[in-house]
């Protein structure tokens, strides 16, 4: 993976040395010259004379495998030799300069493939069409007589062949075809297959340069301390007290709410900021604690006013007239993303240009943040996207990019790498929102579930991060997986009277997009409560769900149950089920647990996913098993608490996460039903917790309605 630099619309020279690379990325000397006058075929495809194919990837790679999946889709239509494929990231600045030819760079919401599969395949198909046309032109034969496969164009009537590399320069001169026809999915040879990732080798020997590893000539390193209470301000700091410490170059205020030390090395900056006296105006948030937040949300559970997200029939009347009602209150705490690579960005600012190197899930918003902080036009700024040491939604925000530029502005002409300590990272996240949910279900005299009311009370992510996307004050994202219909995440059960509403209660702690987003708690609320309703009705939880589930939801649940041998667990082992739809995919899980003497063991989770179309089954399998690690980390251990306005968990000792010894065996079942494209990075996180919680109930008769599980006298190791 390399970054690419200057490019004009049609006469683009792929000079691997351009831009950031010339500044010392560790690209071997000589690489730059090799490329020579290689032309891009189109924005997505570069073919070198030696047949190497470079596929451009607009979305960020943070471990989820999108880079490989997108390359497979382009390569499929390009009909190229997969063994000759590598990838590169265009910069957001190039995207702006070329009228957003690569479209959206944003990488979140499991959207990387499902929202770009069509245009990237069209890019590959257009490039193939141009390569074939160039060969046909050279042979002076109709293009329709030529075929392409494995990077070779063949003219069957004459038996002649030409490799892609041989005609690439001519193909680059041709007009793009007005329209292309995409291959039928059943004819796929590269896409749809579990090919290995393209980005593994350099992750095995330490050579991959993550944002935190970037080294530029004369670079300085900064570290930051932000006001411990969100919304608070920097009053003053005694920079002179640390100015004489080894390596310290400068102590600077950042954005009115933080202070940074710029030094020769990280450790020097770290020692100095630890010693730096700082006076904060903590602001009104300092009066907040977990208890006050809990009370605030509790009030919302019965509040008069709430935003209605889903209304089918008349749930309140149905419940009032029900022969039997069941009620329960659930809650979900704050969680930290805690990607393994702490926040960081490097900026080089001069009066007329600002360059940023950053691991970001959203290159374009990082560019906008850089330009705003630099007070320069976007055209005078650019962001070089680095590989991410985990993202999980955290790196969709550009707070750390803005800070890096604000610091670099105070040391113009010198690249400054801003490195957050893990402690800063833990305390200054936009956290998984905190919510509670009161659920009321009603049965008629015949035992049919006739009404359900879900009142969600709690925090809105959009109110924290993107208020411009709210709809008349409502945050529609709150209702993930609970929508009346649609392709993103519909509520899975046909219940004649359903009401889902949201009393928005926003504490001062920022809420953000955390892998799985609102599906995480919504799935717990719905799926644990369905278990409660099944038990109240005296019906097996699988059978109970089957009565009400829509067909695709039912199909994945049945696949997971069958895969796990639901109902046939060994003595002492218990099953729990969950299903949900989110990010365009249908998912379900069956967890297998035992509880012995207060010790919980999760033996196995069988998960079924219907994402419509599978681009790389091996990578989907890894996303599913990884999603359970993320979901179970939160469910078993994760909770960020607030005292005097400050997040109390500062590192992995106080915010424990799942490790190898707690990892259940995960079996992934893929049941793509075709006709739609769903995401796979996130949906199964939603079913991790409820499947396990329902299995714990099956094992113990104890219903856990608040997380983490570790608070409920259950050990896992």
């Amino acid at each position: 993976m390399t970054a690419i630099a200057s490019m004009d619309r049609r006469s683009f020279l792929v000079s691997a040395a351009a831009g950031g690379l010339s500044l010392g990325f560790g690209i071997p000397a000589g690489t730059a010259q090799v490329a020579g006058a290689v032309r891009e075929i189109n924005a997505w495809v570069v073919v070198h004379p030696d047949d190497r194919v470079v596929i451009r990837i607009a979305r960020s790679e943070m471990g989820q495998g999108t880079l490989t999946g997108l390359a497979q889709l382009v390569a499929e239509e390009l009909e190229c030799d997969w063994s000759k494929v590598s990838t590169e990231f265009p910069t957001p600045g190039q995207n702006v300069a070329r009228n957003r030819v690569w479209r959206n760079f944003s990488t979140g919401g499991s959207r990387g493939i499902r929202e770009s599969h069509e245009y990237v395949r069209q890019g590959g198909a257009a490039a193939r069409t141009m390569l074939v046309a160039a060969a046909a032109k050279r042979w002076n034969v109709p293009a329709g007589e030529c075929t392409a496969a494995n990077s070779v164009i063949r003219h069957a009537p004459s038996g002649r062949t030409l490799a892609y590399g041989a005609v690439a320069a001519e193909a680059a001169q041709l007009e793009a075809p007005a329209a292309v026809v995409l291959k039928d999915i059943k004819d796929w040879k590269i896409a749809g297959k579990g090919v290995k990732r393209l980005d593994t080798a350099e992750k095995l020997n330490g050579s991959l340069v993550y944002g935190l590893d970037l080294r530029l000539p004369n670079m300085l390193t900064a570290t930051i301390r932000q006001c411990p209470v969100a919304g608070g301000k920097l009053k003053s700091f005694a920079g002179a007290k640390v100015a004489g410490m080894p390596g310290v170059r400068k102590v600077v205020a950042v954005d009115g709410n933080a202070v940074a030390v710029v030094a020769d090395s990280y450790w020097q900056a770290h020692k100095a900021i630890e010693a730096l006296p700082v006076d904060w105006d903590l602001g009104p948030g300092a009066k907040t604690s977990s208890a006050t937040i809990d009370a605030m949300l509790k009030e919302g559970l019965t509040a008069e006013n709430a935003f209605v997200g889903t209304r089918i029939g008349d749930a309140k009347t149905a419940l009032a007239g029900a022969a039997k009602t069941v009620e329960a209150v659930y809650s979900y705490p704050y969680q930290n993303h805690a990607p393994m690579e702490p926040m960081n960005a490097t900026a080089l600012y001069t009066a007329d240009r600002c360059e940023v190197w950053a691991p970001t899930q959203n290159g374009e918003s990082a560019l906008a943040a850089a330009a705003e902080a630099a007070e320069l036009p976007v055209a005078k700024c650019d962001v070089h996207k680095m590989m991410l040491g985990g993202g999980f939604g955290r790196r969709g925000r550009s707070d750390y990019v803005r800070q890096a530029v604000l610091i670099a502005k105070q040391v113009p002409g010198v690249p400054v790498k801003l490195v957050w300590s893990r402690e800063e990272d833990m305390m200054h996240c936009a956290f998984h929102p905190v919510t509670q949910c009161k659920l009321t279900g009603g049965f008629d005299a015949a035992g049919n579930l006739t009404g359900l009311h879900m009142r969600i009370s709690g925090q809105s992510i959009l109110a924290s991060l993107a208020p411009q996307n709210m709809q008349n004050g409502m945050d529609p994202v709150v209702f993930q997986g609970l929508n009346a219909g649609g392709t993103e995440g519909q509520f899975g059960y046909d219940i004649p009277n359903l009401l889902v509403d949201h009393a928005m209660r926003n504490p001062h702690v920022l809420a953000g997009f955390w892998r799985g987003v609102n599906l995480n708690h919504n799935a717990i609320y719905v799926e644990c409560f369905m278990d409660e309703l099944a038990r109240a009705a005296g019906i097996d939880p699988l059978e109970f769900r089957r009565r009400y589930l829509k067909p695709k939801h039912r199909a994945v649940l049945e696949a997971a149950a069958a895969g796990a041998g639901y109902g046939k667990a060994a003595p002492g082992v218990h099953h729990g089920l969950a299903q949900i739809m989110g990010f365009g995919s249908y998912v379900a899980a069956c967890a297998e647990v035992s509880v012995t003497g207060g010790k919980l063991k999760i033996h196995r989770i069988v998960a079924a996913t219907d994402p419509g179309v599978v681009v790389n089954p091996a990578q989907v399998e890894r996303q599913v098993s990884g999603s359970f690690v993320y979901g179970l980390s939160a469910a078993l251990h994760g909770e960020c608490t607030v005292k005097d306005g400050v997040i109390e968990q500062t590192n992995f000792d106080t915010y424990p996460v799942l490790r190898m010894d707690e990892m259940p065996k995960v079996e992934t079942i893929l049941v793509p039903s075709g006709g739609f494209w769903g995401g796979v990075g996130e949906p199964t996180i939603g079913v991790a917790a409820p499947a396990v919680l329902n299995a714990i109930f099956a094992a113990t008769g104890k219903r856990i309605r608040s997380l983490p599980v570790s608070k409920h006298d259950l050990r896992t190791v």
Binding site: K203, N205, P339, M340, R422, R622, G626
Partner: protein, 149 residues
């Protein structure tokens, strides 16, 4: 000035002797394959070998290294040949984001050096590194594969 032996080569490190080995490697010597994750020996991203012992370099001050021979991820492959753990990682397509994998691989290499055929319990006990992407299932499979290699 401290003289360190890293991956069979001598390095001079003119830094404060209290500096953690992690930052000596990364900032002073440019060996950035060893990662910063937590700074308190919790996550294992900074794992290196000192005289063959897997060690969390964020918690070892330079002055404590003495003449211990250090191996980092950059030095695990010998003579251009991948270590069997790296090979198993490649064959099993283990890494996702990859950030924790330097430490994972170093911990696994040390485990296999001590226990050539580790059981799952051995793996659970030795592999306490944190991976937020959740590669544990592939890590376990790759360690067993490396043991068979």
């Amino acid at each position: 000035m401290a003289v360190l032996t890293i991956n069979g080569k001598k390095y001079d490190a003119a830094v404060d002797p209290e500096t953690p080995l992690l930052w000596v490697l990364r900032d002073a010597l440019g060996l950035t394959g060893t990662k910063y994750g937590c700074g308190i020996a919790q996550c294992g991203a900074c794992t290196v070998h000192i005289d063959g012992v897997p060690t969390r370099s964020c918690a070892v001050p330079l002055e404590a290294v003495g003449d211990g021979k250090i191996t980092t991820i950059e030095g695990l492959a010998a003579n251009g040949m991948l270590h069997k753990v790296q090979k198993a990682w490649l064959d099993n397509d283990v890494p996702q984001c990859g950030y924790c994998q330097s430490g994972m691989i170093m911990a696994a290499a040390a485990l296999l050096a001590e226990k050539p055929n580790p059981t799952d319990d051995d793996i659970d006990a030795a592999m306490t590194n944190i991976c937020r992407c959740g590669t544990y299932q592939q890590v376990r499979a790759a360690i067993h594969a490396a043991a068979r290699a």
